[in-house]
């Protein structure tokens, strides 16, 4: 339960920290940390406007997307506590809950009948498809390393397996989770959330027709997804057996660090050309594959 609450709390601060980092990096005074929350609460008070070309799918998609993300949070463990929902192979459940949310976001974009939104939906589906192997290869590697197939067991046994090379897996895991989070949330270098041209958009173009309450739900979903990946990163770099209060502080520290990294990336990095994105995303899978091979060799799984 603590993990679930911590993810919700860190999600509130996440977009604000990104905004503050970007403001400081560009020398502007900028909005406060809670400005995105204020914007979202304003949107939540408003009603939604639906185009006459849209149907039921468009109206229910934001709620389904948010609920799938909340379900996915429930399988993420914190410290040595078991997650709210934990079972063998729950990482598959986690990944496909997020995929289900994305599926509804995509068909809701197609439901509007806009050619721009269809284009964005196609790109989102393609990039998500390319990043999926990276996540699965990495978790498969961790699963092979620890001998368990649920998030709670994998992360609670991650640092106590007695393997001296766990730091390599931590670093690679941290890197792959950062890249996965950036790609899944359509941030730089794959997509720019602040872009103004529909032709170059990916995620933003899909939600052009959403307004008011629905738009707030989509924004909240994005913050939660960031916090989920921040939580996964935390789990691969901090041993689960440490003191719980220290763990809470470290958790908030890692989430803040992740938000600062995202803010700095968005301040100083240019966006990829659209045709370079598939290669960039595939290279993340290749890094995950390296982790898999290294674990395969170092744990002598092949020679058995």
């Amino acid at each position: 339960m603590a993990g679930f609450l911590l993810i919700l709390i860190s999600a509130i601060f996440f977009p604000g920290i990104i905004l503050r980092t970007k403001s400081i990096a560009s020398g502007r005074k900028g909005p406060g940390v809670f400005q995105p929350v204020r914007d979202a609460s304003l949107l939540l008070k408003k009603g939604s406007v639906f185009s006459t070309t849209t149907g039921l799918i468009f109206q229910i998609a934001p709620v389904i997307t948010l609920s799938t993300i909340v379900c996915a949070i429930m399988v993420i463990p914190f410290a040595n506590q078991t997650a709210l929902i934990s079972f063998e192979g729950d990482f598959v459940f986690f990944s496909y809950m997020l995929a289900l949310g994305r599926f509804f976001a995509i068909i809701s974009a197609l439901d509007t009948g806009s050619s721009f939104e269809g284009m964005g939906a196609s790109r989102e589906a393609f990039f998500s498809m390319l990043i999926e192997p990276a996540f699965f290869i990495l978790i498969a590697a961790f699963s092979m390393f620890t001998g368990f197939t649920s998030f709670s067991d994998i992360f609670s046994h991650f640092f106590i397996t007695g393997n001296h090379y766990v730091l390599i897996y931590s670093i690679i895991g941290f890197y792959v989770f950062i890249q996965t989070a950036l790609i899944e949330n359509s941030r730089l270098p794959v997509d720019d959330p602040k872009t103004h041209l529909e032709l170059t958009m990916i995620h933003e173009v899909m939600i052009l027709d959403n307004s008011g309450f629905d738009k707030a739900l989509i924004h909240i979903g994005t913050w939660l997804k960031f916090a989920i990946y921040g939580s996964l990163m935390y789990n691969v770099i901090v041993p689960s057996g440490w003191n719980i209060f220290l763990q809470i502080l470290l958790f908030l520290g890692v989430q803040s660090l992740f938000a600062v990294i995202v803010g700095l990336l968005e301040s100083f990095r240019a966006r990829n050309k659209m045709n370079k994105n598939p290669k960039f995303i595939l290279s993340v899978s290749a890094i995950a594959m390296i982790a898999f091979v290294i674990i395969l060799i170092l744990t002598h799984k092949l020679n058995q």
Binding site: Y165, I168, I172, P278, K279, F280, L282, S283, S285, A286, I287, M289, I290, V293, I294, L296, I297, L298, L302, N303
Partner: protein
Amino acid sequence: MVIYLIVLFVVTLVYFASAERLVTYIRLIGAQGLLLCGIALFELREVNTINMIFIVSETIAFKAFLIPYLLNSIIRASGVTKVHRQAIPGFYLLIFSVLALIISVLLADSLVNPFVNTIYMTIALFSLFTGLLLIVTHKLIISHLIGFLIMENAVFVFSLAVGNEMPVLINIGILLDIFVGVLILGFFGLRLKPHTNELTILKD
């Protein structure tokens, strides 16, 4: 410690598949030289001191500095900065590279024996396949040369795998370094014409 260097070495090999600028290739070749020097330092414990000093100094001088310097000179002289536009897109090259990694693991596993270190064998095979892929999929002669350098690094890694038992193999690997140095110098002497359009071309 050596395992960290090996992981970095593999990352540079994957990077080769996604890079598009020749300057990046040259930096990666230089980085591989330094990594191989580190790996040799940590791995070769049973080699005598003089031989060790020779191996380390040769690796740094040739692999990390001289060869990258010569390649840089070729790029500056020819004005070629990017790989040929008819080269296979990096996306497919990355897929082939990952496949090569899997094949290397399976091949090294099937060739396992007590005298050869499996991880070195895997990395050597992966390096060999990456070099071959670069040669097969690129059109410029400089890319071919870099592919050959990667294969030469593969030979060096393989000689490290059996280096403690057969130190002479490492010295043979070093002879290959010198051969590559001479080959690159030959580029200056040969004055290859642009657009020869035979087996390989110098310019895009």
